[in-house]
């Protein structure tokens, strides 16, 4: 009788190849490596930025120079040599495109391999895609449709030119340049990213989507995203990432700022599948991201993320619930395999009255990976009737990985109601046998059980994203553990 042993599992994990390990050769222009004030000025100049933006970057650089890289996360890695990174890379050809036909065929091929053909998306999902390929947008679609509603959705570099008053007002308002080491670095050198503004009372008719890819060897990626939902508006924003295989570690330090004004709602979904490194732990993306949203009165921000990639993930999408009756949500699935390390979670800062937050975190660890949940729920003294519910579940596969939970709960108001639950489990032998008996092999059975385990979060993703996410879950534990 064949028995699926730990050894088989380990063996199969080893043979798992990075699915999206390919590299598109597009001619790029890359700055010399290293960082100083001149490089910051050069980046700003290259982008024709106004004076205030250059100054803002320089200020961030000065702050960053005084800071030290944080060490509190439950991850170990060789720190990046910040002077060994090239801080700017743009495709040399920067065509102005009106339709997808004009997009570089190599690029389209890349997207095809990813199974996210733009054509298909246009047809099926009505998604406007702002493609970011190594830091500079090369195609923007559906701009016109959005413009009719007064929605601005464009690369942030263009927004700085076209809507300086909006960018200037909101950039750095939720994540100040001095917030943390990586945010400061990003503020100084960010290459591009997306800007989105939804006017008062407008409900964005389609999911806005950006696919980030890291493409040029040795190029750090510093994306900057700013989403502003004006009073009473609604937007659902999708961010998806895959990166080609690389031996060299690649640094990614993005900043995402969300601002939901009174009665507005922002739903921000991420599927992250960057190169996690090979089975020996070599290579892979360092993902040090600062994501934070601010809620004014009656506003709601909902973060949903499915993280299967990156060698190191350091990420805490947070909500500052400043307005009364505002709502923050965090739904997360984090899968780690091989030598991946993830230290991720959220912060819910309750400042306003009747604020509510929900945290559902599902961690799945396999191989030799370490998966940590780190979260903060803070109820300030004036936050009357604040509510929080947190649930952190971990699933361990094999006996060489670790699952860790570090929740911080700080309450200063007696009317607060906080519930935190955490469980750790493995896939039961009896569950596997039951599935086997019904003709489902062990690998498929594990996929099924993992999907069931993650269901509460998968359900929160927009439909077209959920399918991809489910596929990713299976791929990243494939051959192994489902």
């Amino acid at each position: 009788m064949s028995k699926y042993t730990e050894d088989d599992l380990r063996e199969e994990l080893k043979t798992k190849e990075y699915e999206y390990g390919f590299y598109t050769e597009i001619e790029s222009e890359t700055f010399a490596k290293g960082l100083n004030e001149d490089v910051v000025r050069a980046i700003s100049k290259k982008k024709n930025e106004p004076e205030w933006m250059t100054e803002w970057r320089l200020e961030a650089f000065r702050v960053w120079s005084q800071m030290e890289e944080p060490e509190w996360a439950n991850v170990t890695y060789k720190k990046p040599e910040f002077q060994e990174i090239a801080y700017y890379s743009a495709p040399k050809k920067k065509p102005k495109l009106n339709s997808l036909d004009e997009v570089d065929p190599d690029l389209l091929e890349t997207f095809k391999k990813l199974g996210i053909s733009i054509d298909e998306q246009k047809k099926l999902a009505n998604v406007a895609v702002d493609i970011v390929m190594d830091s500079v947008s090369v195609a923007t679609t559906f701009k016109k449709t959005l413009a009719e509603k007064g929605i601005i959705f464009m690369p942030i570099s263009e927004a700085i030119q076209e809507h300086p008053e909006l960018v200037r007002k909101y950039i750095g308002s939720v994540v100040p340049t001095s917030d943390n080491f990586y945010a400061a670095l990003n503020s100084a050198v960010f290459s591009d990213g997306s800007f989105c503004y939804i006017p008062k009372g407008v409900s964005c008719p389609m999911e806005l989507s950006t696919y980030f890819r890291i493409n040029e060897g040795g190029t750090g990626q510093f994306e900057r995203t700013l989403v502003v939902a004006d009073k009473g508006s609604y937007v659902s924003y999708l961010e998806g990432c895959t990166a080609p295989q690389r031996d060299e570690n690649q640094l990614h330090a993005a900043v995402v700022e969300l601002i939901a004004l009174d009665d507005a709602e922002i739903k921000y979904s991420t599927v992250q599948n960057w190169f996690p490194g090979d089975e020996s732990g070599k290579g892979g993306v360092y993902n040090f991201v600062t994501k934070r949203g601010l809620c004014e009165n009656n506003a709601k921000i909902s973060w949903t993320q499915v993280e299967t990639g990156s060698a190191i993930t350091w990420k805490y999408p947070s909500c500052v619930l400043k307005g009364n009756n505002s709502v923050g949500e965090f739904y997360s699935i984090a899968v780690t395999n091989n030598h991946q390390q993830a230290d991720t979670g959220t912060k819910m800062i309750h400042l306003g009255k009747n604020t509510k937050s929900t945290i559902i975190s599902k961690g799945i660890s396999a191989g030799k990976s370490q998966n940590s949940y780190r979260g903060l729920v803070q109820i300030n003294s004036r936050a009357e009737n604040a509510r929080n519910f947190s649930q952190c579940d971990s699933l361990l596969m094999g006996n060489e990985c670790g699952a860790h939970t570090f929740p911080y709960i700080e309450a200063k108001n007696k009317s607060a109601q906080i519930e935190h639950e955490a469980t750790t489990s493995k896939i039961g032998e009896d569950q596997l046998f039951y599935c086997n008996q019904r003709g489902i092999d062990t690998e498929k059975a594990i996929a099924l059980i993992v999907n069931g385990f993650s269901k509460e979060v998968l359900n929160k993703l927009p439909m077209e994203f959920a399918v991809e996410a489910q596929k990713l879950l299976e791929i990243s534990l494939e051959g192994s553990v489902g």
């Binding site: 009788m1 064949s2 028995k3 039961g428 032998e429 009896d430 569950q431 046998f433 039951y434 599935c435 086997n436 008996q437 019904r438 003709g439 489902i440 092999d441 062990t442 498929k444 099924l448 059980i449 999907n451 069931g452 385990f453 993650s454 269901k455 509460e456």
Partner: protein, 249 residues
Amino acid sequence: MLKIENLKAEIEGKSILKGLNLQVNAGEIHAIMGPNGAGKSTMANVIAGKEEYEVTEGTIELNGEDISELAPEERAHNGVFLSFQYPVEIPGVSVTNFIKTAINESRKAQGLEEMPAKDMLKKIREKSELLEIDRKFLGRSLNEGFSGGEKKRNEIFQMAMLEPKLAILDETDSGLDIDALRIVANGVNKLKSKDNAVIVITHYQRLLDYIIPDFVHVLHDGKIVKTGDASLAHELEAKGYDWIKQELV
């Protein structure tokens, strides 16, 4: 259909089956009865291929092929279905999703395409009506929070969906009230044909009022010690098992 010869099996070094012989032909219903600890559930699990049990001797043939080296899912693909005495819970996986996966995996093993969604839906509707299962029930997580009766009904529903050649019902009557028992038995009878076979494992003759067996076997201490027709079950109900033990002495 099923031919078991001199089957010996143990768990953690403890011998449970001690030379079991059983032949089941297509179109037949066999009942296995016996006191607690006789090895009834072990027999079911060994046929299904549960790994904790070690087969030390003997053969299990299904349609002339020895299946004792096959993985549980391969046996399932060959048409073995075990209705569990204690069906497990799988949180977050709906009954529909589970059965869809199970059917398509079996089809895949047979080199068939996935069943079209339309046919799947039709089949689910048909079989759930047969077992008087509510549509809402199908959307719930597999066995999670199910009552004893719901779990058993769900097992027979899956049996109806998978259309096995050999169905083994392990104590399917336990935990059922009289209405559920009737529904379950009715379902089993409707699924019965000249091409498949059923083994009913039970303590009591109650279920056998509804599912009439062609043969009744008494399992005692890892062996079949007595075989008769349906009337044997009545005799056991009336007299208990002691007289058989005494006969053996």
